[in-house]
């Protein structure tokens, strides 16, 4: 079952630290958001393979928005 990786806060995409096809463990950062001068990683909720990255660096994302999808 694919699973969405969701932003837990509103912020600007600072860095995309994984790419499609990467294997990630639960807790690994998939992307890093920047909000109010803080860099905050958005972590994989479980182990899996990155199926899709839905955001680009510099883009603003809202809390709850899907930033990536795990296979």
């Amino acid at each position: 079952m694919p699973e969405d990786v969701k932003a837990h806060i509103t912020g600007v995409v600072f860095q995309i630290t994984s790419k499609v096809g990467d294997a990630v463990a639960a807790g690994d950062p998939v992307i890093v958001l920047e909000s109010m001068k803080m860099e905050i990683p958005v972590e994989a909720p479980r182990a899996g393979k990155v199926k899709e990255i839905k955001v680009a660096e510099g883009q603003t994302v809202q809390e709850g928005e899907t930033v990536a999808v795990l296979d």
């Binding site: 806060i9 509103t10 912020g11 600007v12 909000s35 109010m36 001068k37 803080m38 905050i40 603003t60």
Partner: protein, 447 residues
């Protein structure tokens, strides 16, 4: 006296500087980004210039746009506030080269104190104690072992290229050194692109105590007493106060004397802060902040002096109006930083629109606020909304006033640090003045 000042900042500190300019009859020129068009600092100023889009590097951090705005409006001076370009010596130098007065220390002092290794060396030369540790990066684990043996365990391994507490590794004894050294090198490489490490004595329950200093162009340097700033999260201050509680007169005397000695050795001019780490009766130089400090209001409250007006006067070439013996610390003052952060979620940022803003009123209260109802608190800037300052004849009176003010403060639309501040004000540790920098991370004020 200067005729006009451009304020290269936003929010509460821009308003604070504008207020000082108005009191002195100086024309104030605000700059703002597209995100801040409706914000109070824009309407407060005599004039305002749009300098760019919301991201700071395209507006408040863009030196060229700010210099252009200054030239177009005929500004005579730049006040950088804190953060943004305030400690950027290249910007201070560019201002000077553009014929603008920089309201702060000379750019050479900013440059010298911005180099943490150089600053440490300079302070040591002047006789100011520094944290025992390596003079520069250690080259190998063997050198780290020798150094650690000399200064005594526990020690801290710190990224030479780093800052903000990132990549620090604590080593409890010699047996753990080799493994910790490898881990610290990896972290330093990952975070800062360079593996070089410093070795320093690890202090277990240090306090952060700083001294406000002020120098004029005629060469006089005074101190305006100390501030206690130990309540921090992620190495960022949350609560500050003056005087520092439970500081012996002897230690206070040594701290303020060391601060003046250090500032004098580098030819300091204008407002600055010498930061120290205090443990027991020992104190060590941390750094000099070459700018106005966020927490300057508590010093103003206990001394009755206006630091920002003095900054403008000294930058105009006037000598300081205060002699050291006239600067008396009276009563006690506490500041709580009202951040748009959620203390229930480990101080995560909480951007949003302020739909209700109802600040407290009462004796001994002062609010330095950057926002008002309807302001959209964006993800692009520091989350500081306002600074609430409570002052009393005694520390307990100031604390009780702060507690009541925090209870009465109504902010809706964003989460704020107020619930955290209330827990601190009610805690035995704070009431008794038993504070150190590890308290927040140790969960001492958790709900």
């Amino acid at each position: 006296m200067l005729e006009s000042v451009l304020i290269a900042n936003r929010g509460e500190i821009a308003r604070r500087v504008i207020r000082a300019c108005r009191a002195l009859g100086v024309r104030s020129i605000a700059v703002y980004s597209e995100a801040d068009a409706g914000w109070p600092h824009v309407s407060d100023a005599d004039e305002a210039v749009l300098i760019g889009p919301a991201p700071a590097r395209e507006s408040y951090l863009d030196a060229q746009r700010i210099l252009t705005a200054a030239r177009e409006r005929g500004a005579q001076a730049i006040h950088p506030g804190y953060g943004f370009l305030s400690e950027n010596w290249r910007f201070a130098k560019a201002c000077e080269e553009a014929g603008l007065v920089w309201i702060g220390p000379p750019w050479r002092v900013i440059q010298q104190m911005g180099d943490k290794v150089g600053a440490r060396r300079e302070m040591q030369r002047a006789g100011v104690p520094v944290v025992p540790g390596s003079e520069g990066p250690v080259g190998s684990v063997e050198e780290a072992r020798r150094m650690a043996g000399e200064i005594g365990y526990p020690v801290m391994l710190k990224a030479a290229a780093g800052g903000g507490g990132i990549g620090m590794v604590r080593v409890t004894d010699a047996a753990a050194l080799e493994q910790s050294y490898a881990a610290a090198e990896r972290r330093a490489q990952a975070a800062f692109g360079a593996p070089a490490l410093f070795v320093e004595r690890y202090l277990t329950q240090p306090r952060h105590v700083e001294v406000q200093i002020f120098g004029d162009a005629q060469g006089r340097i005074v101190h305006l007493h100390e501030r206690e700033c130990s309540i921090q999260r992620r190495h960022q201050k949350l609560i500050e106060e003056s005087p520092a509680p439970n500081l012996t007169p002897a230690l206070k005397e040594r701290l303020t004397a060391a601060a003046v000695t250090g500032a004098t050795s580098v030819g300091y001019v204008n407002a600055g802060t010498v930061e120290f780490i205090v443990q027991g009766s020992e104190y060590y130089f941390l750094e000099i902040n070459t700018r106005l400090q966020v927490e300057h209001p508590v010093t103003e409250e206990v001394t009755g002096l206006d630091l920002v007006q003095a900054q403008v006067k000294v930058a105009s070439g006037e000598p300081l109006a205060w002699r050291q013996e006239d600067i008396v610390q009276r009563g006690a003052s506490i500041e709580c930083r009202v951040y748009a952060e959620d203390p229930a979620r480990s101080f995560m940022p909480s951007p949003g629109t302020i739909v209700r803003w109802n600040p407290p009123e009462g004796p001994g209260l002062r609010l330095e606020s950057g926002v008002t109802e309807g302001c959209q608190v964006s993800v692009h800037y520091d989350p500081l909304l306002a600074k609430l300052v409570a002052t009393g004849a005694t520390r307990e009176e100031a604390r009780a006033r702060m507690e009541a003010a925090l209870e009465a403060f109504v902010i809706e639309g964003v989460k704020t640090a107020i619930p955290f501040h209330l827990r601190v004000m009610r805690s035995a540790a704070f009431r008794e003045g038993r504070v150190h920098t590890q308290l927040v991370e140790q969960g001492a004020f958790n709900a």
